[in-house]
Symmetry: D2
Subunit: 145 residues, 4 copies
Amino acid sequence: MTLQMDKKALQVFLTEHFPQVADDYVVDEVNEDRLVLRLAVDHRHLRPGNTVSRPTLFALADVAVYLAILSRIGPEALAVTTNCAIDFMRKPAAEADLVCDVRLLKLGRSLAVGEAYIRSAGQADLVARAGLTYSIPPKGSKKRG
Amino acid sequence: MTLQMDKKALQVFLTEHFPQVADDYVVDEVNEDRLVLRLAVDHRHLRPGNTVSRPTLFALADVAVYLAILSRIGPEALAVTTNCAIDFMRKPAAEADLVCDVRLLKLGRSLAVGEAYIRSAGQADLVARAGLTYSIPPKGSKKRG
Amino acid sequence: MTLQMDKKALQVFLTEHFPQVADDYVVDEVNEDRLVLRLAVDHRHLRPGNTVSRPTLFALADVAVYLAILSRIGPEALAVTTNCAIDFMRKPAAEADLVCDVRLLKLGRSLAVGEAYIRSAGQADLVARAGLTYSIPPKGSKKRG
Amino acid sequence: MTLQMDKKALQVFLTEHFPQVADDYVVDEVNEDRLVLRLAVDHRHLRPGNTVSRPTLFALADVAVYLAILSRIGPEALAVTTNCAIDFMRKPAAEADLVCDVRLLKLGRSLAVGEAYIRSAGQADLVARAGLTYSIPPKGSKKRG
């Protein structure tokens, strides 16, 4: 399947649709097999103990899978997250960026399933792993539910 | 089981340990059976389409179950989220607070399981439902992993 | 919402469509708010340690939520499970039946979400809790994916 | 980390501890990185529509991750499943065996997390993907909860 959006197009999309957070995220790589999204960790993402907050990890996985779906079906899509299962496995390094590696396991007509592996930059061990399902509304549809 | 922390003690704990977000949350109710946490929704929680962001919903569920566990075992605990499964079911109302209703399904020696039901204030329909597992380290333990 | 299938109709459906397992299950109750499915535990469901196997618990939750959906939308539906998150919390009693209490959290046009609470008959503590999502194909649809 | 149990030892363990189902499963491969478990599909695993039942898929993932943990920590372990999140993505081929490919994402002192990818033998597309958490009781422990 050919890509509908490349790195630059995804980054522009982020800036236009998520201006509050777009500067935090960099699309490091996108191709037919995977997408890699990097989060520049700063003090706003930290919690007591100098660790990255879990909502920050969740958000990273959610945005990364969303972008992977858009890269395949294009920006007009209104995909919405319906489900997420996430395992938090290790404390991230406080001073390092977070890198999220995404694969799409299924891209059906109405449902897409992706998985996201989050690591501290430069480290092999997993910080977290998430599986997310997105509902893709039929084209021309305005309502979701 | 008697409560180790009441509404006021939980609110003080939030202010001390999560100063960045403590003002957003109000413990509406806590007893042996449930805890209700309210999020005062403001513009920082919203996303395009005037909807509350999913990381905000995740954070609400995570904090609420955490406080429910603390209310039972006391503030010295170092419980950490190991797993979350969350279903996003309906778009929250944009102008309403969010109310998160928590029950603990299990409070074992090393694992606690809680569930969180999120609704827009004053509405019956569910916005989201989450199940979370926390690992509770042995007393005196310093390390987790 | 009115029921499309009552206890008797669901039991007949089970016998016709799942003859291998229909005798194991009894629909104890079904109404607009909940469905209760009982599993007559016998030696085929047990594992070493005289405990009910986890696939047996999973199957009970899966069938129970499926029947709850059918009770609302009728037997012609081709709902398929797309996702399940299940927490195993306590060992079931070996000699007791299992009782599964189901509520539907959402019944949308294309997705239904239900939750199932499993207990040993006559006991208050939870053995397991599951959340399941079903995809409901459009009427007249033959293919799913 | 060296293996505590090889293919043959795992197969013997299955026969001793799970005699009802041991003949269905073959450990195709086990090493430090992965374990592959094959299910010989027969009529007992099928449901109407000639498809493999979802409890059969769940059981395959559960057993496979369990064996992967045993291969690392040895047969005296009393690991118990505490949580499973499973996505059902495609209908398995009716006449083909099922192959389950497992990786351990974490093997901590008290918790292990594994993931299982299920495919019909000889096919690339995923039938299902599961993440499972096991609680590992302290050595010498008799009770779990």
